[in-house]
Amino acid sequence: MIDSRRKYKLHNSQTAVYEQFDDRTQQHEASSLGMWIFLATEIMFFGAVFTAYTIYRNLFTTAFEAGSHLLNTPVGAFNTVVLIGSSLTMALAVHAAQKGKRKQLMAYLVSTMCLGSVFLFVKFVLEWMHEYKDGLAPGLHWTYAGPQSGHVAMFFCFYFILTGIHATHMIVGEGIMVVLLYMAWKGRFSTERYNPIEMFGLYWHFVDIVWIFLFPLLYLLGAHF
């Protein structure tokens, strides 16, 4: 076991099949399945908060619409575009890995990291910090004096929790990408072995999908007309 591990490490870009698998196809399917089971738990995790949000949105529709109206929709739309762009560069990174193009892979990983950082920067500086200054942070700085202030505060609780756990996922993703970039730089990937890149790609696209739902639910359902 230890010996074969060592052997694997020595030739990891040539002999790419771990001993418990028959062939590459089986190994690839096993890791995809594992990753998708993890993503299924993530769907349930985000799904629980989405369910709670849906229930309270229906109970306090006007307050939630008033809260949604206070969000910066153009900035949210801009961030959506940035995140979809990062999904494209991630898909291109997987493509480069499949073709064994190391430099392209590294370039696409770096561009994905940059776009992810732009998203996080916009979120922190242009949104959260503004909302905090404007007194829209329940529990920390709440000065909203309009009608149903308590229920609007509830909307902002959901807003900060949902965008917060989404941003946390992105920060984790950025960390994993640093490791992947290092591995790519060291030449650990080849046309025979690129599973880590592809599995991370699944994670990154999943985070993108979460935002695809967050954007309309938080920013757009607030009656802007």
């Binding site: 993503l39 769907i43 762009g85 696209h205 802007h224």
Partner: protein, 113 residues
């Protein structure tokens, strides 16, 4: 099968489609469609998620076990949402056989509303 290499053109087509759908969902939020605003926004979001899943996440070419996991996740999510919503929105409904006690004891969710 599962290690299918998709043509680059496909990724760019999906990307452009996603951008167009983002623009549509954003602009449509400024048009009053009544209850349909929510329906349209969620339908576009589901469409975008399907595109990302099918092509970027390679579901188009992945094994049936993977699709089964995704189906199970969505199915369980649907159970969670349906049962929770069913409970919440029927809680304040007073059945005839509850009428006598309901008059003296307000239902829990009456306070919420």
């Amino acid at each position: 099968m599962s290690e299918h290499i998709a043509p680059l053109k496909l990724y760019f087509t999906v990307f452009i489609t996603l951008l167009v759908l983002t623009l549509v969902t954003w602009r449509i939020a400024y048009i009053d469609l009544g209850r349909w605003n929510t329906v349209v926004a969620l339908a576009i979001a589901i469409g975008k998620a399907t595109l990302v899943g099918t092509f970027f996440m390679h579901l188009r070419w992945s094994a049936s076990t993977v699709r089964l996991v995704l189906f199970a996740a969505i199915f369980w999510l649907a159970i969670m949402i349906t049962l929770t919503a069913g409970d919440f929105f029927s809680r304040s409904t007073v059945q005839p056989w509850q009428a006598s006690s309901a008059a003296s004891q307000p239902m829990p969710s009456a306070a919420l509303r």
